[in-house]
């Protein structure tokens, strides 16, 4: 018998252990859990943690993605490859189909975005898959409304978050009780920061979509941000396209996610870049948060992630 001492844990190991504990609790206590997986870096790490949580068994729940129809093709490719590799089921909720069926109406003009249209499609996807718990890759360091949210975030039968009346959440004892029609959004990455995510990607050698690294792309400038040339939103006459070296710090829709000027071509260079950055990832790349000071809170109340 060995008498070796227990290892000193790094902050990444402590965060990993906490996330795996949360994922296993949900799998054990809910009937129909599901995990949102977009192919973005946070959901990639979350999915890897789920893989770790149940190894050597497969992940015991499906993944879901709300496809706005405006996603980056590189990211969708990555999504499909990863799902095939894990042998799990992917459920796609399509904004395009809802628009085509006349259930939703697109915004028009240079500021068009499908950001708000995601919410009804997400809620429909949750209802049709009968999800009673949905994992999301949200982190509390991202945004001030997210900083307030519980790990188990209760949603009523309209999918709404009530920020002024959240259930107490003590220790690591999560209360999963709910009525039919209600569900939880569960955030296993609550305590991770952007830097933790990147350090973990480096440590585990996790593959991520190419758009997170410096590449040449046709972009135009809007509100001080670099938006990708795309076929969906028209441009103002003054917005001219130019080829630049950029990378993405967050990955959402092409219409609301901006690129940043960057030469960082490897995970290590990305880590060095964000360690030195004086701007938050959402501040540098998310047009959707800039509409008002409480934009995120308002969207979450309506059922957004």
């Amino acid at each position: 018998m060995t008498t070796s001492a227990p290892p000193e844990l790094t902050h990444l190991q402590v965060l990993e252990a906490e996330s795996i504990h949360i994922i296993r609790e949900v799998a054990a206590e809910f009937e129909h859990p599901g995990m949102l997986f977009s192919g973005g870096k946070d959901s990639i790490v979350m999915l890897r943690l789920a893989e770790k949580a149940f190894w050597p068994a497969r992940i015991p729940f499906p993944v879901a993605h709300v496809d706005t129809g405006h996603n980056f093709p590189e990211v969708l490719d990555y999504r499909d490859r990863r799902v095939a590799e894990l042998g799990i089921k992917l459920i796609v909720g399509s904004v395009q189909e809802s628009v085509d069926a006349g259930k939703l109406v697109d915004e028009t003009g240079p500021r068009m975005s499908r950001n708000r249209l995601q919410t009804p499609v997400l809620l429909e996807t949750i209802a049709s898959a009968k999800f009673d718990a949905v994992f999301g890759g949200g982190r509390r360091d991202e945004e001030k409304a997210r900083a307030k949210e519980r790990v188990y975030s209760f949603r009523d039968d309209f999918g709404q978050w009530d920020p002024k009346n959240q259930r107490p959440e003590l220790w690591d004892l999560y209360n999963s009780r709910h009525r039919v029609g209600e569900h939880f959004r569960v955030f296993p990455l609550s305590n991770w920061t952007e830097l933790d995510i990147w350090q973990y990607i480096a440590q585990d050698g996790i593959e991520i979509p190419s758009i997170y690294f410096a590449h040449q792309r046709e972009v135009f400038e809007r509100d001080g941000m670099l938006m990708a040339a795309n076929d969906y939103a028209t441009r103002y006459p003054t917005e001219t396209l130019s080829m630049q070296t950029v990378r993405y710090r967050t990955v959402g829709d092409m219409t609301c996610t901006a690129a940043v000027s960057s030469e960082a071509a490897t995970v290590e260079q990305v880590i060095a870049e964000i360690s030195a950055s004086r701007i938050t990832e959402r501040g540098s790349s998310r047009a959707d948060d800039k509409t008002s000071e409480a934009a995120m809170e308002d969207r979450k109340r309506e059922g957004y992630f």
């Binding site: 068994a57 001030k144 409304a145 002024k164 209360n175």
Partner: protein, 424 residues
């Protein structure tokens, strides 16, 4: 890198959110866009200083009212440590949110307004921190700039607090005179208080000892049974969970509760490879050498140092329901580690008067935000340690089965003998 979780507590208007803002600002953890956003808001409101509280008061209602309603979590790191801050509300009506934020903390940072001195809410939060088993308490006497940085005033407040603190369980208390508004002794040493030669707040946070959880007996609550159902791992059966105390080693004899069967740890598995040893708070999968019956809610424990196994116990309960009181005879769902059962309140032994720490033994119920000693009986035996010994196996929550709300936070004081103790 090591990680320290701390909670800021104390009365409303003592400057908690401002202190966190200052800590983030002076440690260069606030980003340019965040700062510009709060500068613009402060300016639009005609405020004299940049209102650093706006960094953590993230909800619309909080910004409108200028108060903190719910816990906000903030993150920052220095070259020495990564920090998770729970900024908790000071209002009495939001005490349950304060308890949420403080329940996982290694350290509580209590703010006291140097002008007001120790007020009821300071005592209340210091007591709750002690009850929650937080080993380290830092008393920041804030707003020193408003008392002319007077050493005498600092000493008075400290003396006052330490009289109260003698009755707390807190292992270590540190006093620091600060001004969160202007930054004295938060990150940088203050020129205005040459009489203070202790550490700044950040220096203290970077060096305070983080208590290991492996000096207790081995506890492994089973969360999930892993049966791969694939050819490669046909006969694999592993018990997934998070070590809740002590150390598990391959070759150790363990007892399975509640069956009492013994077995030997054959392997400790993780996705990243097998381990010889696992300690709290690691998430691992344990294989046993015998084919014993183990399921979620069971616990693998040290055979030589087993926990209490009982249906009857006494606990401190912090009551959190707005619409109902905890009363004898009431039934709840109880969750302790990974074990869920039903519970009935046998009696309320005493309610705590927070201000004096006196016990009211005539009390028969607990209302919102009240704390008391309660006798509880569960439908099946729980396996637990006292909360003082182990925060993971000694804690539980009570859930109202009609509203599904989390209504009580419990900390176990000890098992009871049902025959003799129910004479109470």
């Amino acid at each position: 890198m090591e990680m320290l979780r701390f909670a800021t507590v104390g009365s409303v208007d003592d400057g908690k959110s401002t202190l966190i803002g200052r800590l983030l600002y002076d440690s260069k953890s606030i980003m340019q866009d965040q700062l510009e956003s709060i500068e613009a808001t402060s300016e639009a409101r005609g405020e004299e200083y940049v209102n650093l509280a706006l960094l953590t008061d993230g909800l619309r209602a909080e910004r409108e009212q200028g108060i903190t309603i719910d816990v906000a979590y903030r993150y920052f790191s220095t070259p020495r440590r990564k920090f998770i801050i729970a900024d908790t509300p000071g209002h009495v009506q939001y005490t349950r949110n304060m308890v949420t934020g403080a329940s996982t903390a290694d350290l509580a940072l209590i703010l006291i307004d140097a002008r007001q001195g120790v007020v009821e809410q300071s005592r209340r939060h210091a007591f709750i921190s002690s009850l929650l088993g937080i080993p380290h308490l830092v008393v920041c006497v804030n707003k020193m700039d408003l008392v002319d940085y007077a050493e005498e005033r600092f000493d008075e407040v400290c003396a006052d607090f330490s009289v109260f603190a003698e009755r707390l369980d807190t292992r270590e208390i540190t006093y620091i005179p600060i001004s969160a508004l202007v930054g004295d002794n938060v990150v940088d040493h203050s020129d205005a208080m040459p009489w203070y030669d202790g550490p700044t707040l950040l220096e203290h946070l970077e060096t305070v000892e983080i208590d290991p959880e492996d000096n207790t007996a081995a506890r492994f609550p089973v969360q999930y049974v892993i049966r791969p159902m694939r050819n490669e791992y046909h006969d694999y059966r592993g018990y997934a969970g998070r070590v809740a105390g002590g150390v598990l080693r391959v070759g150790d004899t363990v007892t399975v509760l509640p069956s009492g069967k013994q077995s030997v740890i054959e392997g400790i598995d993780t996705y990243d490879g097998p381990l010889e040893v696992a300690a709290a708070p690691m998430s691992v999968t344990v294989r046993l050498s015998d084919d014993v019956d183990v399921s979620r809610g069971n616990m693998l424990v040290s055979t030589s140092d087993a926990p209490e196994v009982s249906q009857d116990f006494e606990a401190w309960v912090c009551w959190m329901a707005e619409r109902s009181e905890l009363t004898p005879g009431a039934r709840y769902s109880i969750k302790q580690t990974t074990h869920s059962a039903r519970a009935v309140v046998r009696s309320v032994i005493a309610k705590l008067e927070i201000n004096t720490l006196a016990e009211d033994i005539d009390a028969e119920s607990l209302a919102l935000n009240e704390i008391g000693r309660v006798l509880i009986r569960t439908t099946e035996p729980l396996f637990f340690d006292t909360y003082r010994t182990n925060r993971h196996t000694g804690s539980f929550i009570l859930v109202d089965e009609s509203t599904n709300g989390t209504v009580g936070a419990g900390m176990i004081l000890g098992a009871l003998n049902p025959e003799s103790d129910y004479a109470v």
